[in-house]
């Protein structure tokens, strides 16, 4: 844990009207680690993600990437700097083919977007790369279908493939297995495990399922009502009375 943090938030805050959805959250994230962000519904987890990846502008505080202040930058510029984001609700290009969905990510990574005089179909290397990533999420056979025709589980996988194709330094997964069938879940969990094992990537994971969190995370951050209420090693966090009180539901079991 001696490496410098890739990503840090300092006093990050956002208000919607009078409601403070994320309140003064400071945390640092280092390469080779997987941090799970947990908390009750409405705790601000997804909003915190949106603040980091730039979908929402912060009301106060900073987001630092490699020590550089990126708070004023938009989502696209942060994506260019290595922040990759998968969404909780599937968020695809519905009328484009599965392959084109992934190729758009590959192309963004390769910086080809503004090339307006070459033929899209001439960029063979982007196609090959996209097919490779589709293969990894077991979607290669469906590459010519339109994205909207995929089943829910396959859409989730495509979402993951797009994230992989961006080849980011920071992977942000927002409930990647939500709504997936039992046999599809391991494919995605293995992928996340694999990313973490590469050692130079930073993974952030919002997840409800505690078994998933327990099997993957090196560290847990607990958000509650927009505040960061706990941050540390999984065993310690799980054992902490504040966290049990706030989230893990131990109190309920006793009272029932």
């Amino acid at each position: 844990m001696s490496e410098a943090p890739v990503l840090a938030t300092q006093g990050l805050t956002i208000r919607f009207g009078g409601h403070v959805a994320v309140n003064n959250v400071s945390a640092e994230f280092r390469p080779g680690t997987l941090t799970a962000i947990v908390g009750p519904n409405g705790a601000g987890k997804t909003t915190y993600f949106n603040l980091i990846s730039g979908q929402l502008p912060a009301s106060a505080g900073k987001v630092l990437l490699y020590g550089e202040d990126v708070t004023a930058l938009g989502a696209a510029q942060r994506a260019k700097r290595g922040v990759g984001r998968a969404f909780q609700l599937t968020n695809l290009f519905p009328n484009l083919s599965v392959l084109e969905n992934v190729r758009l990510a590959v192309q963004s990574r390769a910086g080809l977007g503004l090339n307006l005089l070459s033929l899209w179909s001439d960029h063979v290397e982007t196609t090959e790369k996209a097919e490779h990533f589709l293969h990894r999420v077991t979607l290669a056979e469906r590459r010519f279908e339109t994205a909207s025709a995929l089943s829910h589980g396959d859409k989730r996988k495509l979402e993951v493939a797009i994230l992989l194709a961006l080849e980011p330094d920071i992977f942000m997964f927002d409930e990647p297995t939500a709504g997936m069938s039992v046999d599809e879940v391991p494919v995605v969990l293995d992928l996340i495990q694999h990313i973490k094992a590469q050692g130079d990537k930073t993974v952030l994971l919002v997840e409800h399922k505690m078994d998933v969190v327990r099997s993957l995370a090196d560290r847990i951050i607990v958000l509650h009502n927009g505040f960061l209420v706990a941050d540390g090693d999984p065993a310690e966090v799980m054992a902490s009375p504040i966290v049990q009180e706030a989230y893990l539901g131990m109190g309920v079991a006793e009272s029932v």
């Binding site: 919607f16 009207g17 009078g18 409601h19 908390g39 009750p40 519904n41 409405g42 705790a43 025709a149 089943s151 829910h152 589980g153 939500a178 709504g179 997936m180 069938s181 039992v182 409800h208 399922k209 505690m210 078994d211 998933v212 509650h224 009502n225 009180e245 706030a246 989230y247 539901g249 131990m250 109190g251 309920v252 079991a253 009272s255 029932v256």
Partner: protein
């Protein structure tokens, strides 16, 4: 066993090109709390939405209180006596707590005595009475959503995963609320993934998978039978132990 209040017979529901419900048979008995369990994507929310008329059944029939509601519109179903608390709670965040409840009281102002009874287990609502609902916390919104469904007596209450991600203290108030409602002979159909929350509350239980009901029975039996729990609920139980 009491008589049936709501009966679903072979209900199929399509959403776009997806065939979500594939022949659901379900009976909700008067005065009982029926729990609908199942993993994500099994079709629980779709079942509730189909009952509410928000999505139309493509085949099969729904009978509520002796009335065929298969083709009825959502407002008609609501007027017939079904209240709905959706998964996202459906709070009107620009309106105050009071205005949210006012909309649910179709006759005019909400009954004061009933309000006091609701404040008894959801005190936060009284505290933030004239506050925009959007400024409430997630738990307080859930309280408001349930309060809105019970501010007038309804024949049947549909509640979709009320505990999802809530803090224990709030879950505790929900348990109190549901106990109170059971005491008043309210019929409830509750969708849940949190087995711990419903095991002591439920009378009947139905388990869904892949758009069908795969198990029906008494909650007491399921609560005792660990093997049955394991075989039926597998992953979702592990996730919430």
């Amino acid at each position: 066993m009491s008589e049936a209040l709501l009966t679903l017979t072979g209900v199929h529901t399509h959403i776009g090109q997806y065939h979500i419900l594939q022949g659901v048979d379900l009976t909700v008995r008067r005065g009982e709390l029926t729990v609908l369990l199942g993993r994500n994507g099994a079709g629980k929310t779709t079942t509730l939405r189909t009952i509410m008329g928000l999505w139309k059944a493509s085949r099969g029939g729904l009978v509520f209180d002796g009335q065929d509601i298969t083709r009825a519109s959502t407002p008609d179903i609501a007027t017939a006596g079904i209240a709905y608390v959706p998964e996202n709670m459906g709070i009107f965040s620009d309106l105050t707590v009071r205005e949210n409840l006012l909309l649910a009281a179709r006759a005019g102002e909400p009954d004061a005595q009933r309000l006091e009874w609701i404040f008894g287990f959801f005190p936060a609502l009284k505290k933030f009475w004239n506050q925009a609902a959007g400024t409430l916390s997630g738990g307080q919104k859930q309280m408001l959503a349930i309060a809105r469904a019970i501010v007038e007596p309804r024949k049947l209450l549909l509640v979709d995963e009320p505990t999802k991600g809530l803090a224990p203290a709030i879950i505790q108030s929900l348990i109190t609320a549901f106990r109170e409602l059971k005491g008043m002979e309210t019929t409830i159909l509750l969708v849940e993934q949190n087995f711990g929350f419903v095991r002591s509350l439920g009378d009947s239980v139905a388990v869904m998978d892949d758009g069908r009901i795969v198990h029906k029975g008494r909650m007491a039996e399921l609560a005792e039978d660990r093997d049955l729990q394991q075989s039926l609920l597998g992953l979702s139980l592990d996730a919430h132990q």
